[in-house]
Amino acid sequence: MDERELTGLIAQVHTGALSRRRFTQMMIALGLTAPMASQMLGGAAAYAQTKSTYAPTKRGGGGPLKVLWWQSPTLLNPHFATGTKDQDGSRIFYEPLAAFDPDGNLAPILAAEIPSLQNGAVAKDGKSVTWKLKKNVTWHDGKPFTADDIVFNWEYAADPATAATTVSSYKDIARIDKIDSHTVKITFKNPTPFWSDAFCGYRGMILPKHVFEAFKGGKSREAPANLKPIGTGAYKFVDFKPGDIVRGELNPNYHMPNRPHFDTIEMKGGGDAVSAGRAVVQTGEYDYAWNMQVEEEIMKRMEQGGRGKFETSPSGNIEHIQCNQTDPWKEVDGERSSVKAPHPFLTDPAVRQALSLLVDRGSVHEEIYGRGGQTTANFLNAPSKYASKANKAEFNVEKASQILEAAGWKKGADGVRAKDGKRLKMVYQTSINAPRQKTQAIIKQAAAKAGIELELKSITASVFFSSDAANPDIYSRFSTDIQMYTTTQASPDPQTFMEQFASWEVANKENKYQGRNITRWRNEDYDKLFKAAESELDPVKRAALFIRMNDMAIQNVVVVPVIWRTKVQAVSSRLKGVEISGWDNDTAQLFNWYKA
């Protein structure tokens, strides 16, 4: 890369054709450090960057914006959303106080400023936070947005009778005081390091009090506005057909200057990911498509036309293999994989160590996932401040064999190792999904070379991921030796994510397999670290605690990370200003999108 190319790239960043993030990634790939890369760009402040790329100087005039969601929204109340699709659809009309940017930091939307310890809005004891709201924000029906709406949303979502899917973000709030018409003070029951869980990102979208007031608790599902949202967003509601289409039009009173650019928005659903990608990248019929689970080969071929590109953004989701710490083949008190029966050989560290050396992450990345993932040695990868540097991913059949040999596992006549009459034969299960079956095959081959026999099992996704406690094939019952799937990290704060190794979360018959500790690994030190992180308010110390937790899970090989997934989306080359965050909805920054 010569100087002229570099200046060209910098110019592209300034005009918004290239995101700062991608530029930095490219520079890091060239061997530069991230701070150096941002210095080259003139070091604008982190919050200003999204604003600086927005070029239009007036509101509207952009024509229609057409986006494809191959799984389409089925309802438009963010507190009832059962999946990303519903949240993405709701986010066109509703907004939170602040959004999470790609690095997991907050960017103000309906808030006038972001609370922090420095500006005194976050209490030193972590028990309260004060939000100042933007003034002059109106709902789509003309009523003003005030502190009352914030108080109402807490009451609405925290009420168990509402059965809101967002309840976990609101139930630990003790009370919300209205300081003045545009200031609220949120008081938590306990010290809360992740105070931005409520009212931020996709669990923080705010409903208007005057519309939903009559439909709280048990009556919540009768609200007509569940299907006809009235929000504060850049686009006003026009039409919604569940499972098919969401339409909106420009909000002439939007609270951000010169925004939005498009006169109408249409979110069309249905079909499959590949053809959605085609409609954006190959034919240009649509401008944007969400969640592109498409093979690398096909993506490259589609991109040749030059009408669009597949872009990626990091998330915290991790495809990983779990090692069952309990015996899945022995029934104790009517329960398989019970903590009362330890696994006959997966409890031997040597076996788990060997297993982790037999996962060929490089091949899985290159042959299967392509830009849909990155290789990693960690379970907790993002945001980058939580990523441990202590581990390295290694694929080494030789070394795995040595470890097993040293631990007394000797190869038998059939090539499978055994010790004290126990053969190293494991059942390896996952859901039916082409990349997963390919991964299984790669690992099975390597394991056979080292003397471990893997029997592959694949289960229909709708059964594997179901909550039907009576079905032994569900992932949370874990009725096999090892299993593989992707765990999602839903928020930039890893607390909930890391709770899946805590001993009180063990999934068992008693809690109808609702517990989130699927491996049934129990470790007192881990529990102590977790408890400490729960109330640690110093962000640096807290990050260090999570890194140690990750290292414990990795070094004890409770899980073997396979691939760190990225979000992939198809973006038309005419569409600018698209910056997708792995911590928020694809539609979170819709107001910044425009066509050049």
Binding site: G243, D244, S491
Partner: protein
């Protein structure tokens, strides 16, 4: 005749009841849960899902749920979608016009192709025209619609860039632009389904006409000096149509359920795609409503076809 109709209608009641029972049991026994997505989401506490299951009555025993469903169905209440929390009727009515339009046009196109070509082939059997028509008909019904659909998209959308391959039921334009947009996006799906239908029907029409054309009364008509056109239209085709009418009548219920695969390929928001997405989401009330209405239509149109027989061919009578 009317006694026959009444008897058939009475027999229908246990049949439909049996169908509903079987459908309900299969759905109740199938694994899965409409709130599955919540189960794998760490931020949703399990109580929320339990609460929703209780609210929607999913925890009650199956017989209780069946009786509840049956009584409300009898009262005309089709239930409530678990996934979108909308009345099932509303969901179906939103989708029905699109399905009717696309499948109706396809059925019409099929008939328009099959009638002239089938008749003409039969009038000159084993001529070059017949050979060509037969070849195309075989190709037509051997190729599944999901294949022809993709080929059409490849040729007309990706290579030639003439037609859109994403169907939108509500187009914001008005006036002639609205009509133009609708026609343009409907060309490919209607052609895919229509050509498939047409190919099958052509074979039917051809053999039906061949059967009739050899009969004595046709020779008589010719002998008494009727023109060839009048003989064919008035005497041959009319009688040959009897089996074709039955076939078409039996296909009408299929228009209601939509063309599942074609709708998926072109993203047509019809009943078929609603059925598929409901099955994937375990949205039992919607699946139940669609499959149940479909079975009722099949039963009813069987009767209609039988009655049409009697009307077209007075020799057949019912007692």
């Amino acid at each position: 005749m009317s006694r026959y109709v009444v008897r058939r209608l009475v027999i229908m009641i246990p049949v439909i009841f049996g169908i509903s029972l079987v459908l309900f049991m299969i759905l109740a026994l199938a694994p899965g849960d409409p709130f599955e997505e919540l189960a794998t989401n760490p931020n949703v506490p399990p109580e929320v899902r339990m609460n929703l299951r209780a609210q929607f009555g999913l925890d009650d025993p199956v017989p209780v749920r069946y009786v509840r469903w049956l009584t409300s169905m009898v009262r005309g209440d089709w239930g409530f979608s678990f996934v979108s929390r909308v009345d099932v009727v509303t969901l179906i009515l939103q989708r029905l016009p699109t399905s009717l339009f696309v499948l109706g046009s396809a059925q019409l196109l099929g008939l328009l192709i099959a009638l002239p070509i089938g008749t003409f082939s039969a009038l000159r059997p084993y001529s070059i025209f017949d050979q060509v028509a037969t070849t195309f008909a075989f190709i037509g019904f051997s190729l599944p619609t999901f294949f022809t659909g993709l080929v059409f998209i490849l040729v007309f959308s990706l290579t030639l860039d003439w037609l859109p391959f994403i169907y939108r039921a509500d187009i914001a334009d008005t006036g002639w632009r609205w009509w133009w947009q609708h026609a343009r996006q409907a060309i490919m799906p209607v052609a895919v389904l229509g050509l498939f239908q047409g190919a099958t029907l052509t074979r039917f029409v051809r053999s039906a006409v061949l059967d009739v054309i050899r009969l004595d009364y046709v020779n008589t008509a010719r002998a008494k000096g009727l023109s060839e056109g009048a003989t064919v239209v008035k005497h041959v085709v009319r009688n040959a149509l009897i089996p074709v009418v039955t076939l078409v009548a039996l296909q009408i219920p299929a228009i209601f359920t939509g063309a599942v695969i074609t709708e998926q390929i072109f993203r047509i928001p019809g009943i078929g795609s609603l059925l598929i997405s409901s099955i994937l989401a375990n949205d039992t009330p919607v699946i139940m409503a669609i499959t149940f209405v479909f079975s009722c239509l099949v039963v009813i149109f069987n009767l209609v076809a039988d009655l049409l027989y009697g009307w077209l061919d007075p020799r057949i009578s019912y007692r």
